[in-house]
């Protein structure tokens, strides 16, 4: 137990020397109390947070904490913080800044408020949910308190904090949401923006926002923590705030380049792995690839290649690592390399094949060799064709540097870049574009509007987005009725902004009672907000496909998801049922949780929870109409030539092979438009042309429509509508 916990923790840069952690897991408990530290301090000190005496474990961890590089600068940090309102702290991963800095602040800052029951708080933001959760757990352990009490976390759809909480780890998106109800963030005394170099959308918006808040709240302090070089940019942006550097614990890393560009980077990576395994001294290998499928593919190939070499080489343990991997599988990256297959044989090696989550957020000890093909899946958005997708793109020089650094965590290492030195200097950009330049900003604009920021043109973004990106966002919000024609937030927009969802989905939820199906739309929304619920193990693909087909709804994937949710509930959330039906139970639990949260928001705004009679023929029709009421801008039309064109943008798209539709409806709404192996629309449902005209006449306004087949069809529909009106008048 103790061991496992420690390993989980070492995921997020709090790692101490592995040899030490090894010893401690062996000597856990009784032995530790016998140590001098335990005796001397343990009896005399009481935990100021919960009034209980410190446990032995507290002292154990304290010793380890004190060896972290950031402890060397504790006093310097606290003094600089005292003198300044804003402070920028640069430290490589492994310096301990994420776990230690907030604790330093806690020791130095008075958290009491006039109201005895309430305390001021320190916020520490994280770009990722997992990090917020695991770091807060670790820190709770270090402070010897219970998670959710003095130390808590808050992520979308899950709040694990209380009135006693003084230190809260939360995603940057959550802090932004809190600002919507507490514009001056008055419950916080210090705000720490961690991993600022990642430049997530929410962090960038927080930058601009906090600059304003700081002016109005002289008592508030801001610490910006970053791993890499852009620190000077931060410094300029925050009016020349002082900069502190914490040295990381890095050994030198030798970098190698190829002499020629590679024809196939995957092949090259495998070749390099084999060579390292044959020729280099012991040490684990970390390979960066782009996605789940590529990683699984690579793992099989590596096992095969090295298996073919037989006893010539030592044994290997090949471990995949990507974000959708179940946590138990992720833990495997911390297992040690295998021992030699026979006594005195060649040593074994661990090979971790990972996405760029191993670049900054995860630390794996024992890595000596890094292989960097130079690619990563990155989000791209283009407002002109309205496509938001993950695309494989070349990484930046900063990323390449970061990747190389992973080889020098425990001893001097080597990094093999699968490109030429010339490519490194000519083909790689210096810094990855911040997310704000690569994202659809519809939701962000709605949030900013809710925060009362009306002048988006002159808002102090660190990297202002392209005007067209904002135009698209404003257009979408206007069509959804969240902004009026003067750009003011409407009542509808106010309610929509309360949902932590895309504006299309929020709109769909808000109007679903009008279609008498809010219960069903809630379930569909919840299912769309979690990862894919269908499991498709390699060894049982056929069975999995058959199982999925049993949930299939003839009219489309949204309704299929609804079927899955209903079946899950009917079978009382039974894990066995999930297993037998190739449904991911974790995902279903998450969906259920999301649904509960959404129900609460619906209740807050008096939105009725209702359903059409299941036996009525309108049951599914109403649901499909409600879907359309939110997603009328994501419609594709089947052309006579047999392919789909997206409405208004006229992009050629194809139904994603995962769809349950066995025919091609004339009109479909889609949840996503992605560029994978082809231009796919994913999660698709059949809708009728007439509904477009009924539900969203302002969008399907022919005056504002490019000339195309879809327009001619709509013209006919409008004429038909006219005739019907005439007829009914005449009949009267």
């Amino acid at each position: 137990m103790g061991t496992e916990r420690k390993r989980k923790v070492s995921l997020f840069d709090v790692v101490a020397d592995p040899s030490v952690s090894g010893k401690i897991s062996k000597t856990n408990g009784a032995m530790a109390t016998g140590s001098s530290n335990g005796k001397n301090d343990g009896s005399s000190l009481v935990n100021r947070w919960n009034g209980r005496p410190y446990s032995a474990r507290y002292y154990e961890i304290l010793e380890k904490r004190k060896s972290l590089p950031v402890w060397q600068q504790k006093d310097e940090f606290l003094q600089t913080l005292k003198k300044n309102q804003t402070l920028i702290l640069v430290g490589e991963t492994g310096s301990g800044k994420t776990t230690q800095i907030p604790q330093f602040v806690l020791e130095a800052v008075d958290m009491e408020t006039p109201d005895k029951r309430k305390k001021m708080m320190i916020a520490c933001t994280q770009p990722r949910r997992v990090a917020a959760m695991s770091v807060s757990r670790r820190v709770a352990e270090e402070m010897d308190v219970t998670i959710g009490e003095e130390v808590g976390y808050s992520i979308r759809f899950e709040d694990c904090s209380s009135a006693r909480t003084v230190l809260k780890y939360l995603t940057d998106g959550m802090l932004l949401r809190e600002a919507m109800t507490d514009p001056l963030l008055e419950r916080y005394k210090v705000i720490i923006l961690d991993e600022a170099h990642e430049r997530t959308l929410a962090t960038d918006v927080l930058f601009g926002l906090l600059k304003e808040v700081l002016k109005n709240r002289p008592d508030l302090k801001l610490v910006v923590m970053s791993a890499t070089l852009e620190a000077e940019k931060f410094q300029n942006y925050f009016y020349g705030a002082p900069l502190m550097k914490v040295p990381g614990r890095l050994h030198p890393v030798e970098v190698f380049y190829t002499s020629e560009p590679e024809r196939d980077y995957l092949e090259a990576a495998i070749r390099t792995i084999v060579q390292i395994h044959m020729l280099e001294p012991p040490g684990d290998i970390l390979v960066f690839l782009t996605g789940e499928e590529e990683i699984e593919d690579a793992c099989r190939k590596i096992n095969k290649e090295i298996g073919n070499m037989g006893n010539q080489v030592g044994p290997v343990k090949v471990v995949p690592l990507y974000s959708s991997l179940p946590p138990a599988m992720q833990q495997k990256i911390f297992e040690p390399a295998p021992p030699p297959s026979e006594e005195g044989g060649r040593p074994g090696r661990k090979i971790v094949v990972a996405t760029n989550i191993a670049e900054t957020s995860l630390t794996i000890d024992g890595i000596v060799y890094v292989i960097d093909p130079g690619f990563a899946k990155q989000k791209v958005y283009n407002p002109r064709v309205r496509v938001e997708s993950l695309l494989v793109s070349p990484i930046s020089k900063a990323s390449a540097h970061q990747r190389a650094g992973r080889a020098g965590r425990t001893q001097p290492g080597k990094c093999f870049r699968l490109y030429t030195e010339r490519s490194f200097s000519n083909d790689l950009v210096n810094q990855t574009y911040p997310e704000i330049l690569r994202s659809n900003l519809a939701n962000t604009v709605l949030t900013l509007k809710k925060l009362g920021i009306d002048d988006l043109v002159h808002f102090d973004f660190m990297d202002p987005p392209a005007p067209e990106t904002l135009m698209r966002a404003l257009e979408v919000l206007n069509y959804l009725g969240a902004l009026d024609d003067d750009g003011n937030l409407t009542k509808m927009g106010e309610i929509m902004s309360e949902f932590p969802l895309d504006p299309q989905m929020s709109k769909m939820l808000v109007v679903s009672p009008e279609f008498n199906c809010s219960n069903e739309i809630l379930s569909v929304s919840a299912m769309l907000s979690v990862p894919n619920c269908f499991v498709r193990p390699r060894e049982a693909q056929k069975a999995a496909d058959e199982a999925k087909a049993r949930f299939g709804h003839i009219d489309g994937d949204h309704l299929t998801l609804l079927n899955v949710y209903h079946a899950y509930k009917q079978n009382s959330e039974d894990p066995t049922w999930c297993y037998e039906n190739f449904i991911n139970q974790r995902t279903m639990k998450a969906a259920d949780n999301v649904r509960q949260q959404l129900v609460r928001i619906m209740a807050r705004y008096n939105l009725k929870l209702c359903s059409t009679d299941f036996n009525s023929r309108d049951y599914y029709v109403n649901i499909r109409k409600a879907l359309l009421a939110g997603y009328f801008m994501q419609v594709a039309h089947l052309e006579k030539t047999g392919h789909y064109l997206t409405v208004k943008d006229n992009q050629v798209v194809h139904l994603h092979p995962s769809t349950c539709l066995d025919h091609k409806p004339e009109w479909v709404i889609y949840n996503e438009y992605v560029l994978t192996s082809r231009n796919f629309i994913r999660t698709v449902t059949d809708v009728r042309g007439e509904w477009l005209v009924d539900v969203a006449p302002h969008y399907y306004d022919l005056e504002n429509f490019p000339q195309c087949e879809a327009k001619r069809v709509l013209e006919r529909l409008y004429k038909k509508r006219e005739r019907e009106k005439e007829d009914s008048k005449n009949r009267r």
Partner: protein, 267 residues
Amino acid sequence: MAESAQNGSENGRGREGGEGEEADYMGDLSLLLPPEASEPPKSSARKIPNDKPMTVQPPKKKSKLLSWQEQRKLERERKQQEEDEQTLANIEAPIPQSNIGFKLLQQMGYTPGSALGKEGSGRAEPVGLEIRRSRAGIGREDPHKEKKKQEEFMVERKTRKEESLMADFGSRQKSQWRTRRVVINYHKAKAALDQLENKEVLEPEKNDEDQECEQDEEEEEVITEEDLLMILTKLREEHNYCLFCGCQYESKEELLSYCPGTDEDDH
């Protein structure tokens, strides 16, 4: 979000189980699609059909050797390349001023053509798209793009070669023609000189010329431009005669003022 998870299942499909499914789907398409029908409606994409022959041909040539699955795969890749080109072409078109989003941003104080930010320091254009669908390493492009570039290069080189060949051919023709003219003119001049020197000699008949031409082959090497120049100068100096004017002038002065020059080209 769900990207990687779903991706995986999609790809699992793409590889094996899904092959049939997707192939059927494409099969549908090819039944419905006359070859030119895939032409997108936008004018910006019109250049695609032009590119087609280039991209189509190589797979077609190979197709006899490939299984139908591979053919399908190639066909699908080719279609995707066309669609990608269209996507990239569509990305060139900015959002029009008539768009409501444009108007709303203008109401917030945006001046068309400027950038956003406190100091207007933002980027004016959205970040572009680069679509990579192969595993070509950094510093290399997708194979089809590289192939296309190479093809373009080859085509260019071919035309350049042809052009230079043509130019070469032209100049050779010209020089051949020139030497022939030299010979002809030489004979004409010789005849004229003979005529002028002993007035009795008759002008050579046209037939002679042809005959002479046929004899040229032997004489070609003998009669050079220099010989012609010498004889022409003699005619001018001694007889005030210009072969190209075809007449004898009264005086040297007249020759100089009326005759445009000593070369045939001057006339």
